[in-house]
């Protein structure tokens, strides 16, 4: 396993790219590095994280996302290969040196109880302060800026135990920022949050990556959000290999579907979303545009109708204006069968035509 045998999965355009903040060469991760027979979970990982980039690590449960994250974060020794942080091999850096370059956000709920948020965030200055942990003026400024960047200045004096899940995770991100890292690694940091919080957090990470020229790696289950927001994706299927690229390329090449195949859901490249596999109940031609067209499409898709071109369909549905309201005209073999005035009635009408 030599590093020149390792071909980076991504093609970088010369000149434009900054040197990577974190890169791996021929990395193998798994268990039993210290005793017993080593068991590799993922092998030959050759990836790089660049400044200003938000990368999402996606993969089915049990593929080894957490193991990879733990290894990259230096919490666990690699079985083979090398990790370079800021160009320096991770294994040669001291814990404090690593902490000044890389910070973590984990799913663990911190049990700091009555500690105020500002004190929690200032824990991030740990690798910079002396033995007593006293903050200098610069440290306080960094802490203040970290809270401002995340937007939690108003919470500064609140005890951590009174925060909501989303606020607490933001406080943990601010703490990670206070370490002034070049690389931030977040393991499932958006889990347990509701959708608006997750979207908010993802945009926050995107902004932190872009404006602070940091490299941010997020392991997540949020495929949809990752597809929409991440600059790059790392896909980790069961048994590897890890594939990296921009989201759209990975969708088009089928890598995305392959990674999640056999997991009970089918990835539809057309919509960029997952759907539960279903038996198609018929084909429908849709004559509509704009927002009503989009939602008609979604409704038909959800009810397991395949939307195809006109002329090859069993039925045709057209969105029309009738008496000043939106209506749907159902047409079969060139003849109008029915007008309906909401999508629910449309689905009911289709169902009665083709019983389950």
């Amino acid at each position: 396993m030599t590093s020149n045998a390792c071909i980076h999965a991504s093609v970088h355009t010369a000149g434009m790219q900054e040197p990577p903040s974190l890169e791996t060469h021929g990395l193998a991760v798994g268990y039993g590095a210290s005793r017993g027979a080593p068991r590799a979970v993922v092998e030959e990982v050759c990836v790089s994280l660049r400044p200003g980039e938000l990368v999402c690590l996606l993969g089915p449960n049990g593929a080894g996302k957490s193991t990879l994250i733990r290894t990259l974060a230096g919490m666990q020794k690699p079985l083979a290969g090398e990790i370079r942080l800021d160009g320096v091999p991770l294994s040669t850096l001291s814990a404090a040196e690593v902490a000044r370059r890389m910070s973590l956000v984990l799913t663990d709920r911190p049990a700091v109880g009555l500690m105020p948020v500002s004190t929690l965030v200032s824990l991030g200055r740990h690798p910079y302060t002396g033995w007593s942990g006293r903050l200098k003026r610069e440290d306080e400024e960094v802490v203040r800026r970290a809270m401002a960047d995340v937007g939690i200045e108003a919470l500064a004096h609140r005890p951590v135990c009174e925060l909501s899940d989303g606020e607490r995770q933001k406080a943990m991100i601010a703490r990670a920022l206070a370490q002034e890292p070049q690389v931030m690694i977040l393991d499932e940091a958006t889990a347990f949050l509701d959708l608006p919080r997750r979207v908010e957090l993802m945009h926050l990470l995107l902004r932190l990556a872009r404006t602070g020229r940091r490299a941010v790696l997020l392991a997540t289950h949020d495929l949809d959000l990752a597809l929409r927001c991440a600059h790059r994706l790392w896909l980790l299927p069961h048994g590897g290999p890890l594939r990296a690229g921009i989201p759209e390329d990975l969708v088009l090449s089928g890598a995305f579907s392959e990674t999640f195949s056999g997991s009970g859901a089918v990835f539809d490249p057309g919509s960029g979303a997952f759907a539960a596999p279903c038996v198609f109940r018929g084909t429908v031609a849709l004559k509509a545009g704009g927002v009503p067209g989009l939602w008609t499409y979604r409704a038909l898709e959800r009810a397991c109708y395949r939307v195809v071109e006109d002329g090859r369909a069993d039925l045709c549905v057209e969105v029309v204006a009738r008496n000043g309201a939106t209506a749907w005209r159902i047409e079969e073999k060139g003849e109008t069968r029915k007008y309906v005035f909401c999508l629910e009635s449309l689905l009911d009408a289709l169902d009665t035509r083709s019983p389950k």
Binding site: G74, A95, V112, G113, L114, H126, R158
Partner: protein, 363 residues
Amino acid sequence: MTIPARTESRTGEGMPRTHLSTTAWLLLFSVAVAAFGLELCLGSVFIPPGQVWAVLTGLGGVPDAWREIIVLYRLPRAFTAMLAGAALGMAGLKMQTLFRNPLADPFVLGISSGASLGVALVILAAWGFGLRPLMEKTGFLGNASLVMAAVAGSGAVLCVVMGIARRVESNLTLLIVGLMFGYISSALVNVLLLFALEHQVQSYLAWTFGSYAGVTWRQLGVLTPAVAAGLALAGVLAKPLNALLLGEGYARSMGVNVAGVRRWIILGASLLSGTVTAYCGPIGFLGIAVPHLCRLIHRTSDHRILVPAVILTGAALSLLADVMAQAPGSRVLLPLNSVTSLIGAPVVIGIILRGRRIMEVAP
């Protein structure tokens, strides 16, 4: 509970909290001073405060007997109470943070069980094997031998625990191993008690009651530096202890050498609880309650505040408990262990029920 008002007072520039905290510091300090004074006045004979003051400041006109009682018995006893309270509170704080468990106390790693086993062996087994005449001749019996037995017992457990800590990575595993050591020790003690004579059981029980009396100035010469070293170590460890509040993963990511810090925490806590147990017997409750009280009083889990707070609160509560154990106005001397628990436990239950956040208050 009016939530808006509480939120307001908390977000309001942090002023009320600082104010409250200063009051708490002053109040605790006065309690400590008052209890220290009472400790010197009360006992088998009551000595009026004026006379105590005269002895302390070296003024004349005090009966020699009283002077002797104060200098030889009550002063060392008061100092022992302060040191023991501070030491047990600190050891409890360290264990609660290390194990992130609000129920951890200084003895979770089996340190006091080891001491008990050592004492039980000296009191029961040595006599049983006919070593008594020899021991009496060499002056090995009595208080000093119990101390040495307890030191040997807790030291042995400490060595085993440190050896295991080196190999085991998970703190939870270490905690379970410590608990198992406790069971093994008490099982052995029970077996020894079964074969013991009545008066031997009595003297063992008396040791388990806990007492600050009987510690001499010479013994204080050992206890004081040991406790001072343990407390100083806690002060140095305040920063990594804060990082450990977030869990080992986070602590490591912030550059903390978790394995090294853990060894120092265990060593410091064992030194504190081991020496106190050796000289005063296994004193319960203070170690678990004092850290919780400090967190609630100062509304923080920051160890840079908690370390001094625990020293002061531990010393004050320990003195107070010892004063109460003397049952002022009666000739009875209650077991110290019963007093700390009987009076302390309801207080803590009350505070925690009002606060309603035990798991959050504790690390």
